[in-house]
Amino acid sequence: MTTRLLPLGRLGATLAAGAFAIWLAYQLEPGSRALFTLMGLYAIVAIGLSLLMGFAGQISLGQGAFYGLGAYTAGILVVGLDPDERLVNPEAGISPLLALAVAPVLTAAVAAVVGVALLRLRGHYLAFATLALHLILLAVLFAQARFTGGQDPGLAVIKGLDIFGWEVTGILGATPRLTALVWGVVLVTLLLALNLVRSRAGRALQAIATSERTAAAAGINVSAYKLRLFVLSAGLAGLAGGLYVFLLQFLSPDAFPIFLSIQFVVMVAVGGLGSVYGAVFGAVAITWLEDELRELGTRPELLGFELPDQAPQVFSVGVFALILIVVILFFPRGLLPALVAGARRLQRRATAAR
């Protein structure tokens, strides 16, 4: 079937956008480059979550946990499993590239174990269980401080990524290679996700999204497909987390709050449930907005009001909460699809009036 492949025009446009993102990685200032890298990492997570929410009708409030699990898996493997040997032997761990490969595999395996019972149930069970998973991860990170570095001193990952001689180093966007690599991964993920949606599995998923009963009656194994999507979304989050290690070369539980998991849901709500391009848009928009809100919140005063210390947190949590409520209430399929549909309607009206 030719439907497996993307239409050539759309494939070309996607490749061009990807090339532009990679080109941009080399043009930006280090500060904006770090933010741009983070956008790419979040886009990888959001693509997986969007497929899960759009097609399986399930919501995971634990994508931040899978992201964190991927980061800690890669980080600990790079510095070495033995906390004492780490201190004396910089070569105690395995190769960063191998560690990066293990991260998504391990997170996907965890998701498979958790998901196998939960995905036969209605959506709210997975939502709460994945949130519980996130809390468990945070508790373990703190409780096993000797192994994970905990909050203080944290886990410093000195070794940079080395992809067959192509060295990817540079903390916080100091050099463009990591940024380019991340957006390369975004492009590959995007193309794979688009082809998945158009494949035989994708048609099954679309049937499930329309009506689970009908899909089941047509012989589609609904819970098996849901489980695969959940495992895929967790694996993507784990991969992004693994890449994140090399952005900061430092890990602490602070970087993976519960709020992060909810932020991924906001990205998907903005970009559209099940929309692959929308997930990338949502990730970029929300990450940018959060950065702006933090900048706004750290000012000493705003519009004549003195801002309290918690202002950055209050701003971002409050604003994202409002976005989530308004979008899901009025545009349950997502903000971007609603805007696109609205623009089309206006255009049609304009054409008709002429």
């Binding site: 009708g57 919501i59 409030l61 958790v114 019972a117 939960l118 036969r120 149930l121 209605r122 959506g123 709210h124 069970y125 939502a127 709460f128 269980a129 949130l131 519980a132 998973l133 809390l135 468990i136 508790a139 373990v140 703190f142 409780a143 689970e212 609904v222 819970s223 519960i258 709020f259 909810i262 849901v265 709500a269 309290p308 918690q310 947190q313 209050v314 949590v317 409050g318 994202f320 909460a321 409002l322 976005i323 989530l324 409520i325 899901i328 209430l329 349950p332």
Partner: protein, 285 residues
Amino acid sequence: MTKFLQLAVVGISTGSAFALVGIGMVLIFRTTNIVNFAQGAFAVIGGLVMVGLVDDMHGIVAGTLAVLLVALIGALIGVIAVGFRTRTTPLASLIITLGLALLASSLNLLAFGDRPHTYPTIFERAWNIGGVLVQPQFVIVVGVTVLAALLLTLGLQRTIAGQALVACADSRRAAELVGINVRAVAAIAFAVSAALSALGWVLLTPIDPVNYDSDVRIAINGFAAAAFGGLVSIRLALVGGLALGLAEQLIVGYAPGQARQYELAAALVILLVLIGWRSRHEAVE
């Protein structure tokens, strides 16, 4: 033995508060099909408002005001969460209540700051029964929980109004067809369950301080209690809540050294196992 009994007393009281949250979730789920994530926020607001008021007035007045305020907030959240007939699915409602819980926690952070709040208990004496300290509010919270479970079970099964509430969840369209106002039903169900959760933490805050972000922990524990009864059984939610509270206290009390840090993690693992166990009982949607 004394240690065990003391842990059991505290465990049953905190477990009752979890059960109150869980019973609230069951009430909302049975009447509106919504799983309410903001249930933890009700408890937190109740506790925080109580702490704010208790210095200026009698404890009972402060508690009543806190519970009434939260009931009002609950009604408002219910009306928003139920959304629109044609486009708000139960999963969308869950996400909306998640957003509302976030909004509440950011407002709580703004109003109360980032530190755990508590107040000295208003009761002057506690009973000492064979070395086991029993605070009056322990007894009150257990009593309220059992009474609430009883009244709600009877109310939903035996009264016309209760049947009307349950009918809404079966089919929204059919309920509206016979003249039931689904939005009003949601407002009532949310108000009652908000009041119950708030009452639990108004009473429990002296032994379990609340912070602006305690709502996630409370909501998960409450959900676990409710999930024990498949989100539909008030009786099993009560049992689930008590079991969860007991298990947590016993882990804290008896786990050796480092394992104590896993109180929350252990409770959550219990939750995951419970949900997994439920999954064999509930039919696939």
